[in-house]
């Protein structure tokens, strides 16, 4: 696997080791976050005139999905404002280590050291998505709730327990960060083997122990690396590297494949189908059902969403894996094959989300200019852009971009379906094992094509 060590570039390494750029970025995002919450709670109830809706669900979401996640993995997590205040309180310092922090420092419960909570959280977000995405006050309360929960968990549990084990967006980013072309890894494992202090885990005067409770020496994939660069600062032997690598490199790693991660993948895959149908489809009744919380229609929508994401989709995938396993005469257990193969569809899921995001990112982006001048929808015109009319950008090439994204995801996934099957089977058996899974991926892609450009 080709890798280029970015930390070989002196100025870049200095930039990454310095605490100030990250502190400034976190301060800016925190300020923006506070403005978002305030705008959501006291600003105009009209979503398209409110900073909270436009900046969170159009600008930030687009940036995350089209830029930060595919190219930077967990880069957003390193500047995310949600855990910032809790972490500052926990560490008792804003920039340099050495403060006397607050907090009980409990260990996160062993039973919850997985992504089942984020999976559940993403499901719950999905149930209320039509309301959250359109009602500024709801967005404001949800974001406030997130920041309070992160602070409370920082005071009770050690390090970034919220980010690693609770945050649904963190789970989402962690899952797809495996395909990003950036990683933090140790240069030489032998050096770590002789280093008893493990300052990257325990911390020292130069840096905190890994806030994500990861041990860099055993890091084989990006899922639990928040790219905070603490290990780069705290390593006594200068043995940490930030690498540029090929896309999808983590998919070859067997370590870290688990049922909870697999299910989170299906939650994401199912959610993008449901969201596409509700938000981009021409079915008004479906939109109304998703929006009117508490009505029979909403309960039907909720049941459909949960059944589809947690039952139908994984069930169909399990069926495909079972058929493939029987065709291949594989002796590998069904559960192990299911888990391994489900990690091959990570690129498909990511590219489906990219295609979904493209459909509204450009069309709605012109709202950003008006809310910049009038964030609360109170009639201000700070930069003279408040009255800029809504203008859909690039609408003629959006369907083409979506096709490219979806087909790219299909090719990418088909490569990994086959490669993962070949880990345990001969080439011929791997082909048979993979064919039904590929059919599943093909049907999914055709379904998404129909929803997005049909």
């Amino acid at each position: 696997m080709m890798r280029y060590e970015l930390t070989q570039i002196p100025w870049l390494k200095r930039l990454l080791v310095s605490r100030w750029p990250l502190f400034l970025a976190r301060a800016v995002t925190l300020a923006g976050f506070v403005l978002t919450i305030v705008a959501g709670l006291i600003g105009s109830p009209v979503g398209s005139h409110n900073f909270a809706i436009i900046f969170v669900w159009i600008a930030w979401w687009t940036f995350l999905k089209l830029m930060a996640l595919p190219f930077g993995g967990r880069a957003w997590c390193s500047i995310c404002p949600i855990p910032t205040m809790g972490e500052w309180i926990q560490q008792g310092a804003l920039v340099e280590p050495g403060g006397r922090g607050l907090g009980l420092g409990w260990q996160w419960p062993r039973r919850l050291r997985n992504v089942w909570l984020p999976t559940l959280g993403f499901g719950v977000i999905g149930l209320f998505s039509a309301v959250t995405l359109t009602q500024p006050r709801v967005t404001g309360w949800v974001l406030l709730g997130f920041i309070l929960l992160a602070v409370v968990l920082s005071l009770v549990f050690e390090r970034r327990a919220f980010c690693r084990h609770v945050c649904p967006i963190g789970g989402f980013i962690g899952l797809y960060s495996r395909v990003a072309p950036v990683e933090v890894r140790v240069r030489d494992r032998a050096v770590c083997a002789t280093h008893d202090d493990k300052t990257c885990v325990t911390g020292n005067a130069h840096g905190y122990g890994c806030p994500w409770q990861a041990s860099p020496v055993s890091l084989t994939q990006n899922t639990h690396c928040g790219l905070c660069m603490e290990c780069l600062r705290s390593c006594s032997y200068d043995n940490i590297a930030v690498n540029l690598r090929s896309f999808g490199a983590d998919l070859a790693q067997r370590a870290g494949r688990s049922l909870d991660q697999a299910y989170f993948g299906f939650m994401m895959l199912g959610s993008v189908v449901i969201y596409s149908a509700v938000m981009l489809g021409a079915w008004g009744d479906l939109k109304t059902a998703a929006y009117n919380v508490g009505t029979p229609g909403w309960f039907a929508y909720s049941a459909t969403l949960l059944a589809f994401t947690l039952g139908v989709l994984p069930g169909l995938f399990l069926l495909a894996v079972w058929i493939g396993r029987a065709l291949a005469g594989s002796k590998v257990s069904l559960k192990k094959t299911f888990i391994a193969q489900s990690h091959a569809i990570i690129p498909l899921g990511l590219m489906a989300w990219v295609a979904f995001t493209i459909s509204f990112a450009f069309v709605k982006f012109s709202y950003v200019w008006s809310v910049l001048s009038d964030p609360f929808g109170w009639g201000w015109n700070l930069f003279g852009t408040a009255l800029m009319p809504w203008t859909p950008y690039l609408s003629s090439i959006i369907p083409v971009l979506q096709v490219v994204a979806l087909l790219g995801g299909l090719v990418w996934t088909s490569i990994w379906v086959r490669r993962i099957a070949q880990e345990e089977l001969t080439e011929k058996s791997a082909t048979r094992q993979s064919l039904p899974v590929m059919l599943f991926c093909l049907v999914f892609t055709i379904g998404m094509l129909w929803l997005l450009i049909g």
């Binding site: 979503g47 029987a326 005469g329 086959r418």
Partner: protein, 190 residues
């Protein structure tokens, strides 16, 4: 000197286990009998290259080869669309390329707009009123109809569809998806 690397090996003979073959009936017998899936490693190098090139050519052909269909003569199309929170009724309208389309937009509740993606034309209807929009459907494809006037919380998602002729992009993309899956499957093995 013989180049063993590129010698053509014996044809694959299937290899599906007997137990699995029985379980899968006709399909299993077919695979057992040796109707194995194409496998580049078993092909001669040149054959493999031909296979790869064929996939690329096939994908390009599916994407760009024009479909010989007789096109209906342009005509006047008069469509009445009812707008309400948060849908158009009918939600999908279909016309032929070149048709002169007149849309009468009526709103049944609040002010609604109708913007046709890529055509860049729009109209707005007051509650209980009808507004008219006329344009020549000279761009083939499928286009979103979007509410252009904030009409409530789900306004950003109030969409309909205009089909101008067959949606070739969709059909071609579906065709290419099969080729794309094959390409990824066979061309980039470990």
């Amino acid at each position: 000197m013989t180049n063993t690397k590129y010698q053509t090996p014996a044809l694959p003979t299937g290899g599906l286990p007997v137990s699995s073959a029985k379980r899968w009936g006709a399909a299993g017998r077919w695979l057992r009998a040796g109707a194995s899936v194409p496998n580049i490693k078993h092909l001669h190098c040149a054959q493999a290259q031909v296979f790869q090139i064929a996939l690329v050519v096939l994908a390009i052909a599916v994407l760009v080869v024009p479909v010989p269909l007789t096109q209906a003569a342009p005509q006047e199309r008069h469509v009445r669309i009812e707008a309400s929170q948060f849908q158009y009724t009918p939600s999908v309208i279909s016309v032929n390329p070149g048709d002169r389309v007149t849309i009468d937009l009526t709103s049944t509740d609040v002010v609604h707009g109708l913007y046709v993606d890529d055509y860049g034309v729009s109209t707005t209807a007051e509650p209980g009123q009808t507004s008219r929009l006329t344009f020549i459907a000279d761009k083939p494809g499928t286009f979103a109809l979007r509410c252009a006037d904030p009409c409530g919380p789900l306004h950003p998602f109030m969409v309909g569809k205009l089909n101008v002729g067959p949606n070739w992009l969709l059909w071609r993309a579906m065709g290419v998806s099969g080729v794309a899956a094959l390409a990824g499957f066979w061309m980039f093995r470990k």
